[in-house]
């Protein structure tokens, strides 16, 4: 009873505060901007406002047992350029560096959340999930689009080879998931246990695997669209080398972090935050430098470096617990910023254009995920409850899928625009639904410590 009363009180307070902040924002938006300094002020104000509004909205949704990141994403969508226009495209671009910090930081957390001992124990189910999710989800989405693609208005004018190429690419993108969302929800729910470890292991492994799968898909799609061009094996060697080097650098960095914790220890959250951003950008800088000076196209993956670093600290040093505890201390501002900006970037226009196709693809993807996870769980002998509900943990999609869509757009000018639009619309649906189902399943299997 007392808890209910407190919840009501909190709800009223959050709504009132949100109302006051929004009024403040609406009033300030009416001011004329006369100088660059005022413009900078507007940008700063908008950033602060979105952080506060996202935080409060998430707290309101939390009372309704929805995940916090849904609140951040929804506020982002409302504040973003497609709905209220409070955050303009230009502002989102200017906040790009914050996204980079957040992503690298989340990758550090993701790596640190993987326990080698638990992974070894769950090796069978993880491998089965990876294989089946890849094959079944790709198979479902590919088949659906290959046969039905020409019946949708949006893609009706594509030629048959283009439909097939499109189906290959969208099939692979459907396999991608969002480790950042998974980490945020696991962190919010303080979930732990075999189910959580499996989901995390599968999600992170697929994040690596998707890079290779996408390279294969692009090569295959090129054959369909361009005729008889044969696959270039150098591409696969280059991608594999990038992954290996990224993990190697991550391991080195992890050792460095462990050394820092061992010797200095002070203000680790700040150190990690700066380091996360540093890795993300230094790898970009190195990629450009190597390309310009040595004509070698090496693209180190900052996310993989950070994941490798987190994994090394957790599993190959004695400082893992301290490391994770400190990451958790700075997680909230990072998540609020990252997911509200991610929400602001979600393309509402794309959804309006092809909502029917996106919805159908989302349903087919869910069906594929359900079959794959149920089959994997049944073969591995997992509890029936886990097998029935595991699909709910694999719906979220975000950054990686957007990145893949952008690459596809540049690689395939003929179908690229259609593909990007559909993928953005699909992500919109999955990113709204995915966090809710993920939080629900963590509660259902009893691994969530916060209800």
């Amino acid at each position: 009873m007392a808890e209910l009363h407190q919840s009501k009180k909190n709800l009223i307070m959050y709504i009132l505060t949100l109302f006051v902040v929004t009024l403040f924002a609406l009033w300030l938006r009416r001011l004329d901007i006369e100088s660059s300094w005022q413009l900078a002020g507007m940008i700063n104000f908008s950033l602060g406002f979105v952080m506060l509004a996202a935080y409060m909205s998430a707290q309101i949704l939390k009372i309704a047992r929805l995940p916090l990141i849904s609140g951040y994403i929804i506020v982002g969508i409302i504040a973003g350029p497609y709905v209220s226009g409070f955050l303009t495209d230009d502002m989102i671009d200017r906040f790009g560096f914050i996204n980079d910090i957040a992503l690298s930081f989340i990758a550090l957390t993701a790596g640190g959340a993987l326990h080698l001992q638990m992974l070894r124990k769950r090796r069978k189910i993880i491998v089965l999930n990876i294989v089946l999710l890849t094959v079944v989800v790709f198979g479902f989405v590919f088949t659906f689009f290959a046969f039905m693609g020409s019946h949708f208005n949006f893609t009706g004018n594509l030629a048959s080879p283009q439909i097939i190429a499109f189906a290959v690419l969208i099939g692979v993108v459907a396999v991608a998931r969002s480790p950042s969302s998974a980490i945020a929800i696991i962190s919010e729910s303080r979930a732990s246990g075999p189910f959580t470890e499996t989901v995390l292991g599968v999600t992170i492994a697929m994040d690596v695997l998707i890079i290779i799968l996408f390279t294969i898909a692009v090569t295959a799609a090129r054959i369909f669209v361009g005729g008889s061009e044969m696959p270039d094996t150098h591409v696969f060697v280059a991608v594999s080398t990038e992954l290996v080097i990224s993990f190697f650098l991550g391991a080195l960095l992890g050792k460095g972090i462990a050394l820092y914790i061992d010797r200095i220890r002070h203000n680790l959250p700040l150190f990690l935050l700066f380091l996360a951003f540093g890795v993300s950008k230094l790898s970009l800088w190195l990629n450009n430098g190597i390309e310009i000076h040595f004509d070698v196209y090496l693209h180190l993956k900052p996310l993989l470096i950070c994941m490798g670093a987190g994994f090394t600290v957790q599993n190959f040093s004695k400082t893992g617990a301290y490391f994770m505890d400190n990451l958790d201390r700075v997680s909230l501002p990072v998540y609020v910023l990252f997911f509200s900006l991610a929400g602001a970037s979600l393309n509402f226009e794309a959804l309006k254009v092809c909502w029917m196709l996106a919805l159908c693809l989302a349903i087919v993807r869910v069906a594929g995920i359900f079959c794959a996870t149920w089959l994997a769980g049944t073969i591995a002998g997992d509890p029936p409850l886990h097998n029935r509900t595991a699909w709910m943990a694999y719906l979220t999609q975000a950054g990686v899928a957007i990145g893949l869509a952008q690459i596809a757009e540049s690689e395939f000018p003929g179908i690229g625009v259609y593909l990007t639009t559909v993928i953005l619309a699909l992500i919109f649906v999955n990113q709204l639904v995915g966090p809710v189902t993920f939080k629900t399943v963590l509660n259902l299997v009893g691994e969530s410590k916060v209800r």
């Binding site: 002020g41 506060l52 700066f274 951003f277 501002p333």
Partner: protein
């Protein structure tokens, strides 16, 4: 790419440097005073700035705008937190009036010197002449605490009384400087004709007060219910950026607005200790970031700046000495303190640099780079001169 690399270097060095700077890193004796105050980060900024590597160019600084806003907001809030009335009451009122009088006298000396000299040095409009003079004199009026803070325990114990008043004055005398600096933001017109700006000033003051109260109200609502450390940190970061943004939007000083908000919070908010813990937690890295940002704006175009900075330093020295002399001689309660107490008030870090950063961001001025370079050089002069004169003062004191 530059923005990214620049931020990387700045934040990483600022953070790692904090440990070297403030955690007993051993250096040769001659360099220790200089190094321990973190002044080397000004040089780091200089190297990163347009004068050398050009990693922190105008475009990059524009991209780092929210970080700058956060830095200013953080410093303003922290300074506001120093003015907890119940804590200030523990000290005699004479200390408070002495601190304000000393800084106002320094301000007056420097203001008139700069105001009268400026037209001889550069072609400057009436408004800008006033704005630059006010900024330079406000920056001169306050004192950094680092010199006193770095005294050895032995010294502090032997000269407890004098060290006590020096500590108090150096933590309080920024108040008048900040109030004076706030006035700078009301001069928007190209030139001053008549006294219509006084009306603007009055209106602006009332308006700023109302807005600040609104922000304080928001803080209090946010902090009213129990929140864990993560949530409080988020609220503080977001509110500091939001407050700085609002201040810029309304063409007012982010530093002063945040100071006022901090002042209200420390006096009217029940959960101030938790907030203070968060502010203090990253105080040093924030300060070092400020040094790097300012160092990047440092230009060494004219050798005359070295001379001008020395003159500015001399004026400030005169003001501090004069102010210190007057407050210890005019007030019978303070006569037991050495008349040349101004020797101990020469350090010029922290708040003056924040004032300068705020000026650089908020005021569009042709000679802004010169003003910044001048004060930075003066800060460095004072870094060398301050400790020597402070020790001399204490040795001569009872």
């Amino acid at each position: 790419m530059k923005i990214i690399f620049a931020l990387l270097i700045i934040v990483f060095l600022a953070f790692s440097g904090y440990h070297l700077t403030f955690r007993g890193f051993k250096l040769p004796l001659f360099a220790r005073e200089f190094y321990l105050k973190g002044t080397e980060f000004l040089f780091l900024g200089l190297i990163l700035g347009p004068s050398f590597l050009n990693l922190l160019d105008t475009e990059t600084m524009r991209g780092l705008e929210p970080v700058g806003a956060l830095v200013l907001g953080w410093i303003g809030l922290l300074f506001g937190f120093q003015f907890e009335i119940t804590r200030l009451r523990r000290f005699p009122l004479d200390f408070f009036t002495a601190a304000l009088l000393e800084s106002l006298l320094t301000f007056a000396v420097v203001f008139w010197s700069v105001y009268l000299t400026l037209p001889m040095i550069t072609d400057i409009s009436g408004t800008m002449r006033l704005v630059v003079s006010l900024t330079l004199s406000a920056a001169a009026a306050c004192t950094a605490q680092t010199g006193v803070a770095l005294l050895t325990p032995d010294f502090t114990e032997r000269h407890g009384k004098t060290v006590g008043i020096l500590r108090y004055v150096s933590s309080i005398d920024g108040l008048s400087a900040l109030v004076i600096f706030a006035v700078v933001f009301f001069f928007k017109e190209p030139s001053i004709s008549g006294f219509y700006w006084i009306g603007d000033l009055a209106m602006g003051t009332v308006f700023s007060f109302v807005i600040s109260m609104g922000l304080v109200f928001l803080y209090i609502i946010f902090i009213a219910s129990h929140r864990d450390e993560k949530e409080l940190a988020l609220v503080v970061i977001a509110m500091a950026v939001l407050t700085s943004g609002i201040a810029s939007l309304l063409h007012f000083s982010p530093l002063v607005t945040n100071f006022f908000v901090g002042f209200c919070l420390v006096n009217f908010c029940r959960r101030k200790e938790r907030l203070f813990k968060i502010f203090v937690g990253v105080e040093k890295p924030v300060y070092l970031l400020l040094l790097v940002f300012l160092g990047a704006s440092w230009t060494l175009d004219s050798p005359w700046l070295i001379v001008l900075a020395a003159l500015y330093c001399l004026c400030r020295f005169g003001g501090k000495l004069f102010g210190g002399f007057l407050v210890t001689r005019l007030n019978p309660e303070l006569r037991s303190y050495p008349p040349h107490i101004g020797f101990g008030l020469l350090d010029q870090g922290g708040l003056p640099l924040a004032i300068l950063f705020d000026f650089q961001r908020g005021i569009s001025c042709d000679i802004a780079a010169g003003v910044i370079s001048l004060v930075l050089l003066a800060v460095i002069y004072n870094e060398f001169l301050g400790p020597y004169l402070l020790v001399r003062l204490l040795k001569e004191a009872k």
